[in-house]
Symmetry: C2
Subunit: 191 residues, 2 copies
């Protein structure tokens, strides 16, 4: 068995299926689902989102320069997919999905109540690359849902929340725990 | 139950636990594990990797301007973690892990034989952000392992390969299929 070469493509997986919320007040609050996102720097905490300029929320994002990245769960999978396929130009996505906006804390864009973790961001730079513009952003705040915080230990669990995974055109649940970061070295030390 | 605000942090999950390979010839081939990676543009196909300048492979990456991003599997989890914790300054990572380098096709950096999918990249720009430098890169080639291609349909399955997922300090397998992209609209059409 060997390796087959394909043409260049977008094959970095697994990734989040995250819902980006935008808008300065309830009348303009909207949302879109994206998968092209990731951490780009640990300190200062920074992330990117890449978005097609043709998307309905794009001008609003450019105008406001703020957004919230909401992680999603298996329970939210249907809504997450729908928000990614449909346009805010045609639908009131909040009404259609039942997702609930909460006012932002450090930004004007809303936090989705059902999301286990929401990251409030301010855009630092927009980099046009081709089909997508990359928004380079500073993380201003992270909001976690208390439901997934163990009151005894204070530990927050995205696993318990049922984090949704996107990989190569499909949504998955998070599977079994294989090990914690550094487990290979801990095993070595025991020898 | 409500939302608790934390300080800014790196909470974009799930992400890959990918092994980046670098070096122009077998004598300098090395590898490091990263999680800060993602697609930044679909066409042209582009991705980023963010790396601390203190990492052993950093000068080599700067010098050669090419790398290969190798996705990993549950079977490779121990090696993946070990490669992320240990330094190439102290170990021959190939010997220690048993991972096997294959010559690159469009780049000089090697492809890991055990990886189900390897993405050959050329660096376009390096952006210093703080703890991490972001390498913005063009995808030159995608190499898939024939083992995970269904000979009947030609379909490639990262799920069958046992794709490894990294989330909030731990490695997981990919769980159950929840639905394919667009499933929420297909259900609507049936109504």
């Amino acid at each position: 068995m060997g390796k087959i070469s394909w043409r260049p493509g977008t094959m970095v997986y697994p990734v989040p299926a995250a819902i980006v919320t935008v808008g300065a007040d309830p009348s303009e609050w909207n949302m879109l689902t994206i998968a092209w996102t990731g951490t780009i720097c640990s300190d200062p905490a920074m992330l990117y989102i890449s978005i097609r300029p043709s998307r309905y929320s794009y001008p609003l994002l450019m105008k406001r320069g703020e957004f919230t990245l909401n992680l999603t769960t298996v329970e939210m999978a249907h809504a997450t997919d729908w928000v990614g396929v449909r346009s805010g130009a045609e639908y009131d996505k909040w009404k259609k999905t039942g997702l609930t906006p909460l006012p932002g804390e450090k930004v004007s864009s809303p936090t989705i109540a059902q999301s286990p973790l929401s990251i409030e961001c301010r855009v630092r730079e927009v980099v046009p690359l081709g089909t997508h513009d990359m928004f380079i952003a500073d993380v201003l705040n992270v909001r976690a849902d208390e439901r997934w915080i163990d009151p005894a230990t204070g530990a927050f669990s995205l696993k318990d929340a049922g984090l949704l995974v996107f990989s190569h055109g499909a949504y998955y649940s998070l599977g079994d725990l294989i090990g914690r970061f550094g487990f290979s070295v801990k095993k070595e030390k025991k020898k």
